[in-house]
């Protein structure tokens, strides 16, 4: 209950000003394709040099929470996920915007973010000490199985055919091998200098999601049809609020999945949304509606990626181990003030730790209010004619992919992948499994390589990867997931023939 004593520190003039500024700029940065939460936080580090530690962290915490939520804006309106966290948001969110329900989609996404985010931070507040060691349970073999578990949902994710889903996943896994091997340093598939650094996930995301729709929009523009703008439905905030409460299953699954995945360092933000989307679909009676603009999918994805934020800071604040790239930058923000997070952070610097956490809690509320305010305005983007919209999206895609590492190489990669994806989509392959393969490939590979090196020095690969309770549980989940996919595919076929 210590945290209550430090709420006063958040309500000083400077703190509130920093909180508002951080949230406002965070939403804008988050909504800009190519500017990930990690980059937004890194950009703000120099500003914190002049602030005291708690104030610096208020700024960084507000930026972190609001960039994650802001990513939903471009995901919904433009179908460009600002960061991997928002991939699942595009699946139903953008469909809703296309149906003229952009305002509703944005309102639902910010409300779902609020619920998930607040729950995640409450878990951080009340469970930080008991959960401190969870990060340490996961060794290389467990990460490997977790990544494989992710691979098993590839087939069912966002595509109508399991085989085509798996094939796109394989393309993603192959793309992930391009570049230097991260551990051994060997070069793989580098036939152009732009590929030396591998495929940057954000450049790939922008290309794969934005370029096919740009091509599509230009094509339609020439046909002189579909030039008419979409009618934007008005949607009140109270309607959105009651809709959220009517979807406890999606909200609960999203929040729970986000919280649990957030606790596992190194995986969290990238896949929380996708896993929650998949699970929510599996437990839903309206499976077929997913992908057509179903609010449940959006709610699950957005509550998950914000629920992940709080728990993802547990290993950082208790052990000094950054659980995500963003947490690594936050660690720098602490160290620069001579504060070394570890087991004693909450005892030695309670004013820093609790003020930081409290500001994120209040930041969630501020973020949601800002978001709801802009939702109505932002949704009018659907009224922009398609030909103009295509140019805007293309411009943002070029800017976003260049700004990731200020490199033209990433722009070429973005363009090439985007054009390839346009043709793949025409043949029924979808983007989400491909991206999931691209994210999970390196996790599975590097953990297998490191794990098997350790295993070779100990009792051998089999014992390392196939014994121990956590390995058993994870392998069990993998088997269950595959069995479920097979069962639902077979029963769907029976249903079709009957």
């Amino acid at each position: 209950m210590d945290f209550i004593f430090y709420f006063g520190d958040v309500f000083t003039f400077t703190s509130i000003a920093l909180l508002l500024a951080g949230t406002f700029f965070g939403l804008i940065l988050g909504a800009t394709p190519g500017l990930s939460p990690t980059m937004a936080v890194a950009l703000a580090i120099p500003f914190t040099f002049k602030l005291d530690p708690a104030q610096g962290l208020i700024l960084l915490g507000a930026l972190y929470t609001s960039t994650v939520a802001g990513g939903a804006v471009s995901a919904i309106l433009l179908k460009i996920p600002g960061a991997p966290a928002n991939i699942a948001t595009t699946l139903d969110g953008h469909q809703m915007a296309k149906n003229g329900q952009g305002a509703r989609a944005l309102q639902l996404s910010f409300l779902a973010s609020l619920v998930g985010g607040v729950f995640g931070i409450l878990v951080l507040i009340f469970m930080v000490k008991p959960l401190a060691n969870v990060a340490l349970f996961f060794g290389y073999s467990h990460y490997f199985w977790l990544a494989i578990l992710g691979v098993t949902i590839i087939g069912s994710l966002g595509s109508k055919s399991v085989v085509k889903g798996l094939l796109s996943g394989c393309i993603g896994l192959w793309l992930a091998t391009i570049g230097f091997d991260d551990i051994l340093g060997t070069q793989r598939f580098i036939f152009h200098p732009a590929l030396g650094g591998g495929i940057h996930i954000i450049a790939a995301l922008i290309g794969i999601f934005a370029i096919p729709q740009v091509i599509e929009m230009f094509a339609k523009g020439r046909q002189k049809v579909n030039m008419e703008a979409i009618e934007v439905e008005k949607h009140s905030i109270s309607q959105a609020a009651s809709e959220i409460t009517r979807n406890p299953r999606a909200l609960g699954i999203g929040t729970a999945v986000g919280t649990i995945i957030g606790l596992i360092p190194g995986i969290g933000g990238q896949i929380a949304g996708l896993v929650a989307y998949d699970q929510s679909q599996k437990f839903s009676p309206d499976k077929a509606k997913y992908g057509t603009g179903h609010p449940e999918g959006l709610i699950a994805a957005e509550s998950a990626n914000n629920a992940m934020v709080g728990p993802s800071l547990v290993p950082l604040l208790t052990l000094g181990i950054p659980g995500s790239p963003t947490a690594a930058v936050l660690l720098g923000g602490l160290i620069i003030h001579g504060i070394f997070p570890g087991t004693d952070l909450f005892d030695n610097h309670p004013e820093v730790a609790w003020t930081f956490i409290n500001s994120m809690l209040i930041g969630q509320v501020v973020m949601c209010l800002f978001g709801l305010y802009i939702a109505g305005l932002a949704a009018r983007i659907a009224q922009v004619p398609q030909s103009v919209m295509a140019a805007i999206v293309l411009g943002l895609a070029l800017f976003g992919s260049y700004s990731v590492q200020t490199s033209m190489g990433d722009v070429y990669v973005m363009g090439a992948l985007g054009i390839a994806m346009y043709f793949l989509e025409r043949y029924g392959f979808s983007a989400a499994p491909l991206v999931l393969g691209l994210i999970l490939g390196p996790i599975a590979e590097s953990n297998f390589v490191t794990g098997s090196t350790i295993a070779a020095a100990q009792n051998g690969t089999f014992i390392y990867f196939f014994t121990g309770w956590l390995n058993f549980i994870l392998i069990g989940l993998v088997v269950a997931s595959i069995a479920y996919s097979a069962w639902s595919e077979i029963s769907a076929k029976k249903g079709a023939t009957a």
Partner: protein
């Protein structure tokens, strides 16, 4: 309009030729970019941001330095880019890590070597240390060597990749003690290697002194030895490898500094070599570095050139057998 454009073009051309003629007296007249070959939040990135924070001051460059992260494959991605793609005009700098890039160039498969770059100045020296988790039964390097002798190839210890400072230290320790241990390169830099030690995934690890110092202060690890010629002022109680009878010198010490691509105009190099060491010596910089537990070690261009040449020689000898 056309005339105006042509006039502007001529004026611009005149300006640039003049700048070239007078040895780039105006350099820098726009912000400068510095490539860091490791991810945001890592030790190199963190220190690079601190030591460049006063670049915009009038007594330094008078222009800010922006950090650009190009992480991947132990630094190979960023340095390959810097050696082959970066323009040699003084507006693109890079952080270097020695022995990392030298060891990688000796091992091969990369497009750079010490001849691809011109050093400007060195800001820090972070020795490698040997760490074990707090509950480990090993309390000195002698315990480590004894275990490794009794169990050849069974002692697993982590480090941040192959052919980086940690790996060099690992090779030197094995060679000095005459034992075979299992070096486990991890992905994700020093913090991932440290996590493996704390979590008990491995029995020990080689890590940065600065990170180990913080982890030890938080009660997560024990530091058994420092791979440097002298003890560190951050860890006055931890003996060096030499004091513990292991012939390990300072070849693995992670020297961090600034360099430019070969072919950068001499005027620009001279200007940087003159101002950058003074910029590192700034009091505010020193204060932040000390608070972060990051050991500073400022060297000028001539000293860095000598250090690079010396490292090239020792590393060639050490890596010859691999």
């Amino acid at each position: 309009m056309k005339k105006l454009l042509a006039g502007a073009a001529i004026a611009l051309a005149a300006l640039t030729t003049q700048a070239a003629a007078d040895g780039h007296a105006n350099y820098p007249d726009r912000p400068v970019m510095m490539v860091v070959s490791y991810g945001a939040g890592g030790a190199t990135d963190f220190q690079a941001r601190i030591v460049t924070m006063t670049a915009g001051n009038e007594d330094a460059l008078g222009m800010p330095i922006a950090i650009l992260n190009k992480p991947g494959a132990g630094g190979r991605v960023g340095w390959n880019w810097f050696a082959t793609q970066a323009e040699a005009d003084g507006y693109t700098l890079s952080a270097y890590n020695v022995p990392h890039f030298i060891a990688q160039s000796i091992k091969g498969g990369v497009e750079y070597s010490t001849d691809s770059f011109e050093p400007i100045a060195n800001w820090g020296a972070d020795p490698a240390v040997f760490v074990v988790s707090t509950d480990s039964e090993m309390n000195s390097m002698a315990d480590v060597v004894a275990f490794a002798k009794a169990n050849p190839g069974k002692l697993t210890f982590s480090g941040a990749g192959l052919f980086v400072g940690h790996h060099i230290a690992a090779l030197q320790i094995e060679k000095a003690a005459g034992v075979k241990m299992a070096y486990i390169p991890t992905k994700g830099g020093g913090s991932a290697a440290m996590k493996a030690v704390i979590a008990g995934d491995v029995m020990g690890g080689v890590n940065n002194l600065s990170d180990a110092f913080r982890a030890a202060a938080a009660g997560n690890v024990k530091i058994l030895g420092v791979a440097d010629l002298e003890r560190s002022s951050f860890l006055p109680d931890v003996p060096t490898m030499m004091e513990q009878g292991l012939d390990v010198d300072n070849s693995s010490v992670n020297f961090r500094g600034v360099m430019v691509p070969k072919g950068t105009p001499q005027g620009v190099i001279d200007k940087l070599a003159e101002t950058v060491p003074a910029m590192f010596a700034n009091k505010r910089v020193a204060g932040k570095m000390k608070a972060g537990g990051s050991p500073m070690h400022i060297m000028n261009r001539a000293e860095v050139q000598a250090m690079w040449a010396a490292r090239q020689e020792t590393l060639e000898a050490l890596l010859a057998g691999l």
